[in-house]
Symmetry: C2
Subunit: 541 residues, 2 copies
Amino acid sequence: MLPRLVPRQPLRLFRWQAACALGASVQRRTWASRIPRPLGPWGAVGNSPPVCRRSSSTPAGGPEVALTQERYPVKRLPFSAPSEADLAAFERIIPGRVVTDTEVLAASNVDWLRTVRGCSRVLLRPRTSEEVAHILRYCHERNLAVNPQGGNTGMVGGSVPVFDEIILSTALMNQVISFHSVSGTLVCQAGCILEELSQYVEARGFIMPLDLGAKGSCHIGGNVATNAGGLRFLRYGSLHGTVLGLEVVLADGTVLNCLSALRKDNTGYDLKQLFIGSEGTLGVITAVSIQCPPKPRAVNVAFLGCPGFAEVLQTFSTCKGLLGEILSAYEFMDAECMWLVRHHLHLTSPVQESPFYVLIETSGSRAEHDAEKLNDFLEQALRSGLVTDGTVATDQMKLKALWALRERISEALSWDGYVYKYDLSLPTDTLYDLVTDLRTRLGSQAKRVVGYGHLGDGNLHLNVTSEAFSRSLLDALEPYVYEWTARQRGSVSAEHGLGFKKKDALHYSKPPAALRLMQQLKALLDPKGILNPYKTLPAQA
Amino acid sequence: MLPRLVPRQPLRLFRWQAACALGASVQRRTWASRIPRPLGPWGAVGNSPPVCRRSSSTPAGGPEVALTQERYPVKRLPFSAPSEADLAAFERIIPGRVVTDTEVLAASNVDWLRTVRGCSRVLLRPRTSEEVAHILRYCHERNLAVNPQGGNTGMVGGSVPVFDEIILSTALMNQVISFHSVSGTLVCQAGCILEELSQYVEARGFIMPLDLGAKGSCHIGGNVATNAGGLRFLRYGSLHGTVLGLEVVLADGTVLNCLSALRKDNTGYDLKQLFIGSEGTLGVITAVSIQCPPKPRAVNVAFLGCPGFAEVLQTFSTCKGLLGEILSAYEFMDAECMWLVRHHLHLTSPVQESPFYVLIETSGSRAEHDAEKLNDFLEQALRSGLVTDGTVATDQMKLKALWALRERISEALSWDGYVYKYDLSLPTDTLYDLVTDLRTRLGSQAKRVVGYGHLGDGNLHLNVTSEAFSRSLLDALEPYVYEWTARQRGSVSAEHGLGFKKKDALHYSKPPAALRLMQQLKALLDPKGILNPYKTLPAQA
């Protein structure tokens, strides 16, 4: 019936916690166990930008990450520099939780991709919204810039300071506030780690409506602030739909309590939407109310080889038709990606070598119905030549092994050399054309040009590697990739956001009138611009 | 196996097009065939509020609807009154589509519930966003107030003028712009009628992600502007999740083109969200891009009798577990509602008399799987006494007949006397307590107190009738109902919005900080306040 739809070789299994959306590993933070050192006389007073000593923010053993202010053409805005008196004031607000330990700060100043680095000298760890409000009220008055930080797993440099912004960590705001066992509504503080929330709701018969590789580190507040997409988007949709309410502290310390646990609420403007995806530039999310779907009783994953991209698209159409409401993920990767995970991570492919691979997940309430639907789909896909080989898994370990082939691509890429990363939304039909086009354009300049991603959502992760950073290769990529995307009316950031690194590409996906309105909203909500400065929006002329 | 789960009596079938969310009929507009009369010398010049002659806005044959400015304590704001010169200017922008016909205006000045009435003397019918932009630019400069109007099927007086606002109708903006047959993304003008869009996408294998009784009249732009909920919310979620993009004309005539057809786009703030549910007070939606789900291959409706509200809740839990991903609606109504539709509309109940009734809909991709799931659920529900009687329909005509029992309740109510309407979000467990509580509180003051609604979404439609309008009954209801709702942290408007009639109840569901921010957003986007004035937000002190 289903020739070759069993693993051809034993699948290697591995523990790979906490990989990011694009797959590379992120170490779980250990801030909670650190004790802040006594305050030292390091503070500069007034508006003079502090000078960062390189050594102070270089983690032992790691290669030094260039300071953002040195690598990028960015100028410090005239915020106050935190003084001794400021630290003393913070100490009064959150006694014992004002962190100036250089090691902790070194880790918090650098993004996990190790591409941008700030030189903040203080990290605050509030436990409650009231403490956040108190801190922001103080910073607003003193004109101190603030960098809200969740799990620091962002892809675009949005979660670390650019200069000496005060780091406001949500790490200690990690309490579940309530969970409703009939409706599946979870209300929790912003610093709850996604994976811990998943375990919490799964024990109660539900799942989180989002899942991403970084789940072991990322905070739900950061997920909402960046409008994280991830692996369940195809089935459960955007956070704009699943987030029911937010508590947000505004730049001036006002607490905006819109923490509704109701599915429907049409009383006035839906203010929470403003903060979903605003990357901490309009307010600091302190608590989240979110709708959790019931935990599916049956999950299947099929990993299939396709002879071409046209077949990847046709397979998607076919499985949408035959799997219907149980389809929960449709991911694709090209042969180069498979080479990367086999070569660098020693994973084993369960199927014959193919130009493309797709990973299909089903989630449903009745195993035998799901199996029947999946088998019918697989038979049709094989019979019609859309798929040349494949394997199906239903038990947890094998599911994870198959998922790893897709999810660890980014980790494998980081072993391949310097990586140029693009996260694009494109019309599905032409989504892969950019990859083949770039291979021709770049020729031997690039070591590898690979494409993979959430095909079901029209989301391509395009990655280019070279032995080392090359300015001429970057010039060949940008603005070419952005212009190509703009011509297709695509998005230059499908799910990663803009943060610090992509903010100047905004105009490729949004018209001038939209940019103007965004700047006006920023000015309205944060007139002094203290919240996560240098992020999301391009600097104003 | 399933005793009595067949219709006990032949179901009466009826054609009931265009009933509103709460069920009463709305006549399809015929503006498209009207020819505007030549301009007459009726206009007042300057800021003096025009005097409305009652006769001019009273439809022939209908009882007169009191002018809003006479029934409610509302003062005209100092907008200019449209002059002859203004009409001439509009005529230059949209030749032949400046309507001053008194009959057309009479219909457009009154809401379909016939509870509020404005006295606008001009209705504009642009065909393009550019025309809307031109009109708004002009009105902004001239300080003329504008009332955007879609199908005029709103429940809270948001779609008709309060005074002499210029009515800006989207009726002629009714073109589909594009439809993608693989992704199901529909892009269309704001004036497309929901039912016509449904037919359009159904012919292509998709459905609209929303459905409501008013579908025969309501415009998709109005649906988005009011964040319409309706019958498919349980399955496909909020428009905040399914709307992919919007084109909006701002108060000053700026065209904001965020008409993305992409499922994922994290480039900057998600501006479209601001306009979803803002009831035309922040901008005029001129085009919509929306994600349509695949058309289900199998649809079943079960109509069941339950012995008590506790059983209604348990039946919901049971069916969520056993129907899982195919559950697409869970509606309930009490015995009084059944009495109303039988008595006033002569519908026939297909099941034995019960204290409560539930309507369960499944939508799936495989008929035999869905039938098996549904049968298993029904067996369990009957065996455990949660359900005492029931019927199941699979063919279109019977489906509609069963749905009518639920959807025509509001129409039946309107035959019962004067109706006091509340649309509340409440925690599901205590949702019906308010109905029983009110029956005790009101005693013989009320003719009938009924409860029904979208239980799956925690949305109660509470309706109270009396022989005629009674001030003392109103005083017994308000603010009691709002305070009761606020104590439960519910919403005083789950899906109908605030419009003109509920705007002063906003503070029962939103804190002062949220109200302030809403006012600030209004001031930012519409500094002169010309867009749909007197709506959504309470008048500022």
